[in-house]
């Protein structure tokens, strides 16, 4: 059979050494009563037949649509060298680097990843990553709860609804109060958030750019939070972070992000990359793995997993989190991607995406009845209002091979006519012109 190397002679010799007459004998401890009632599965296929089957399934997804769908998950160009390097078996067939002498490749890469994402956010510390941006946001919130020993969390409704539903699930059995401050026409209502601050507040949570694409400055809110002894948390977009004011410059204590936009395929929702960074005083509240630099007995530089006393394999039920793994391979992807683009390449990606978004906003708002939801500055994504249901317009355009964006009514009451449109460097002006033409027709 595939992937099992034993010849019949090998099996006989191994059974002989064990002193067993058959392989079945080795399972004798499993009583008959516990044997499977059924194991009704198809027979195996050749590699070629398996591949054909799955290629057929791939062909049943919508391929080749022109897409303006983002909403936190972005289709940026990935240089070929990323896939070439990530395909090295020494990286992807390795385990967690618990034996540091045999894992310096993974460990140094994670150390460099921690450096890169901390710099991007302007923060001092980073961990080796968690599952995704939503988990990162939840863990950030729990860091604040532990650090302040307070139980109230104030979240803006402009934080991704996809993340806020995760926070709901995870906090349901905990004694926490989650206060959601309504958005104001797609903008974060900083005044209302500030008004909600009190002495029980553990943290305030905002997203920049917010879910509607607006670029905002939370500095004043964060200063007010600090004055109340609460922490400030930002959920960021790493590509745009190359040009936007940093969470740290706004006074954030913890900055997290979904790292998918840094070289990871969209892959129908995962695996993604939860980036977590913080100020230095908070590092001991950080969940998950952290790599530190040190030396061996001969003074040679090396890297190890450090501060492990926070983690579940040491602390068990008293750990900062139950998280055991990190997204090591995804973190490595993002690091390779960042290295290939460099400072200039990343900023260009951000700026070209933003320029395309401005062009799209101009073309779309030139259509009668289409307006920007608000006049706030935006990044590479913006919300527009249409004269009719965004769902209906979306449906018409999908039939033309265009995904025009994300209808906001799904998550925001009274926004049935609002559409969130995203551009990256991959959306050509020609595609935008066609989008605008079809949309004009559809309206």
């Amino acid at each position: 059979m595939p992937y099992v190397p034993h010849t019949p002679e090998d099996t006989r010799a191994m059974l002989g050494a064990i002193g067993a007459g058959s392989v079945e004998e080795l399972f004798a401890e499993i009583p008959l009563a516990l044997r499977p009632k059924s194991f009704d599965l198809p027979e195996g296929l050749s590699e070629m037949a398996t591949r054909q089957r799955i290629e057929d399934l791939a062909a049943r997804n919508s391929n080749g649509m022109v897409s303006f769908l983002g909403a936190g998950f972005y289709d940026h160009y990935v240089p070929s060298a990323v896939d070439a390097l990530i395909s090295r078996g020494e990286f992807y067939t390795a385990y967690t680097p618990y034996q540091p002498e045999a894992s310096q490749g993974t460990l140094q890469a994670i150390f460099e990843y921690q450096t890169a994402v901390a710099r991007l956010m302007g923060m001092e510390c980073a961990n080796a990553s968690v599952y995704d941006g939503g988990t990162a946001l939840y863990e950030a919130m729990m860091m604040a709860v532990r650090q302040t020993k307070r139980v109230k969390v104030i979240v803006s409704e402009t934080v991704s609804p996809i993340y806020r539903i995760l926070l709901d699930t995870y906090t349901r059995n905990l004694k926490l109060t989650l206060v959601t401050v309504p958005q104001a026409k797609g903008a974060t209502d900083f005044a209302a958030m500030q008004a909600a601050l009190d002495d029980a507040t553990a943290c305030v949570v905002v997203q920049n750019p917010n879910f509607f694409g607006c670029v905002e400055d939370a500095s004043a809110l964060f200063a007010a939070a600090k004055a109340k002894g609460a922490l400030a948390i930002v959920s960021a977009y790493p590509v745009l972070q190359s040009v936007l004011k940093t969470p740290s410059a706004m006074g954030a204590d913890i900055a997290v992000a979904e790292g998918q936009s840094l070289g990871l395929p969209l892959s129908f929702g995962g695996p993604y990359l939860g980036i977590m960074t913080s100020t230095k005083p908070l590092v001991r509240q950080m969940p998950g793995r952290i790599v530190g630099r040190t030396q061996d007995g001969q003074g040679r530089t090396g890297y190890v997993l450090t501060l492990q006393a926070r983690e579940q394999h040491i602390r068990r039920q008293k750990a900062t989190s139950n998280i055991c793994s990190n997204q090591a391979l995804c973190a490595l992807r993002s690091l390779i991607h960042l290295s290939l683009l460099g400072e200039e390449g990343l900023a260009r990606t951000a700026r070209v995406s933003m320029e395309n978004a401005r062009y799209a906003a101009k073309k779309l708002t030139a259509i009668k009845g289409v307006e920007l939801l608000n006049g706030a500055p935006f990044g590479n994504e913006f919300a527009i209002t249409l004269p009719r249901s965004a769902q209906d317009v979306c449906l018409t355009l999908i039939e033309k091979g265009f995904v025009p964006g994300f209808p906001l009514g799904r998550y925001y009451q009274g926004m049935d006519n609002a559409l969130l449109v995203c551009c990256t460097e991959k959306n050509s002006r020609r595609d935008i012109d066609i989008l605008a033409a079809w949309m004009e027709d559809a309206i």
Partner: protein, 481 residues
């Protein structure tokens, strides 16, 4: 080897996209912009390729080294599964497409992969339904425990405690605590769960017990039927940690055996790579009575054979992942299952158990095996005897690195002194194991004759033993400090 950041040369061109045409100041007001550069490295493409190629050579992986790391199932990761996950029809699929009007129609292939993978897992484990959303094993545990909590809350049960055996993975008690439960640990007897110890702590406040079977010593839990009966008497549920599923496919289904909730580590049993520490995938299966509490969304098949995502499950615990879990990992596992089929999966477990027993028998004369009886897919040895002479399990592990092997798991489970946990998996040949044991014998002989030489290992790796105290004290966790 210096870091990327030290190799950077400002102005050096990497893989840059086209230049922008407007000044940044025309795009956004000054006050919203970054004050100073981020400090990303500036490198040529070759600089980057060479840096990471060299780094990769400082790693042991299954592709290059035997990796008998107990509890982790470091089997061979088939290359074609990697290829399949990269098919553009899946890799470029936006996760929000199904939320668009008639979006299910745009993603039929992906939804079918999810639906079919759930059916395979249900049949392999004997469960009623599965969710693929949990993004790792520990995440599956948390999802499972939240499901248990929802069940008890719905029934009006007042439950506050979860029982974990002392041999459990550390994630078990941590997941239970994160979900808001008090954790009660019970001592094992003769390496397995002791029903008497369970009886002492079992009361109406127990929500569930978390177990793995075979357990972390590689032993089958013989008292399982008794344990199931005891838990049912107080309406406590039984959770199965699927970390050790590689031992029992086709030999026992945990659902048939009375487990109510299970998580599976696709990155162990179903051949997806560990990636240097992730990503994993930890689907959760439940018995009939827990189905209403599974996370949303759920994938269903209509009578015409079309697939849809459904969100309307009022008793659901809600969302545990932004979308549908680590789909890319699920896809690889699905390919692996299709390739192996029914017979192949049974043979996986048969050969995993065969290999573990062979390895156990060929080394048990030189290394003490505390529970030296037929094991399942892994077993635990002890270097307690060697440690009397100063050579600890850690030293033996490091000496194995010098011979080109990844070390076994050491100091886990916590209940065996100086333990080394071996799991050869079904994909390693007899020759590889024979050579491994020969090399291990050399190390153990050296431990007798020259303990200092073993204590000095490793010497052939890029670095020797590293100063972990210094790392924790200096806390140098980025290149800037």
């Amino acid at each position: 080897m210096s870091t990327l950041f030290k190799k950077s040369s400002p102005g050096r061109e990497g893989v840059w996209p086209q230049a922008p045409s407007q000044d940044l100041g025309e795009l956004l007001p000054e006050g919203l912009l970054r004050g100073a550069p981020a400090g990303m490295p500036s490198l040529s493409e070759l600089d980057v390729v060479r840096h990471f190629s060299l780094l990769s050579r400082k790693n042991f992986g299954v592709d290059s080294n035997f990796y008998p790391l107990g509890s982790c199932t470091m089997k061979y990761n088939p290359k074609f599964c990697e290829d399949i996950a990269g098919l553009p029809g899946f890799a470029r699929l936006h996760p929000l497409l199904p939320q668009l009007p008639r979006g299910d129609e745009l993603t039929q292939g992906a939804l079918e992969v999810m639906y079919e993978t759930e059916r395979w897992l249900c049949e392999i484990l004997g469960m009623s339904e599965f969710t693929l959303h949990p993004m790792a094993g520990a995440h599956g545990e948390l999802t499972g425990v939240l499901t248990i909590a929802a069940y008890h809350a719905d029934k009006g049960n007042k439950k506050t405690k979860i029982i974990c055996p002392d041999s459990a993975h550390g994630t078990n008690p941590a997941s239970a605590a994160i979900a808001g439960y008090e954790v009660v640990s019970i001592a094992s007897k003769d390496g397995i769960v002791d029903p008497d110890a369970l009886a002492e702590v079992l009361d109406d406040e127990v929500a569930a017990m978390m177990m793995t079977c075979p357990n972390t010593l590689g032993l089958f839990e013989k008292n399982l039927p008794k344990i199931v009966e005891m838990l049912r008497s107080v309406d406590a549920l039984l959770y199965y940690d699927g970390a050790n599923l590689n031992a029992i496919m086709g030999k026992m289904r945990v659902g048939d055996a009375g487990f109510d909730v299970v998580h599976v580590n696709l990155h162990k049993t179903f051949g997806t790579p560990h990636g240097g520490g992730g990503p994993g995938s930890g689907p959760v299966g439940v018995c009939e009575k827990l189905v209403p509490y599974l996370p949303v969304s759920r994938v269903v098949k209509d009578p015409s054979g079309r697939f849809h995502l459904r969100y309307d499950y009022p008793k659901s615990i809600g969302y545990v992942a932004p979308f549908y879990g680590n789909f890319g990992v699920v896809l690889k596992a699905y390919a692996y299952m299709l390739r192996l089929g029914r017979e192949g999966l049974i043979k996986v477990s048969e050969n995993a158990v065969l290999a573990a027993n062979y390895l156990r028998k060929t080394l048990d004369d030189v290394l003490e095996v505390p529970y030296d009886r037929v094991c399942m897919h892994e077993f635990v040895a002890s270097a307690d005897k060697q440690s009397q002479k100063g050579v600890r399990a850690l030293d033996i592990a490091k000496a194995l690195l010098d011979k080109g092997y990844h070390a076994p798991t050491i100091y886990f489970p916590l209940i065996v002194k100086e333990c080394l946990m071996f799991e050869p998996t079904e994909t390693e040949s007899k020759e590889t194991m024979d050579q491994f044991v020969a090399d291990l014998r050399d190390i153990l002989a050296l431990a007798e004759s020259d303990p200092a030489a073993v204590q000095a290992a490793p010497v052939t790796t890029p670095v020797g033993r590293l100063d972990e105290t210094r790392a924790a004290r200096n806390m140098e966790i980025t290149d800037d400090m």
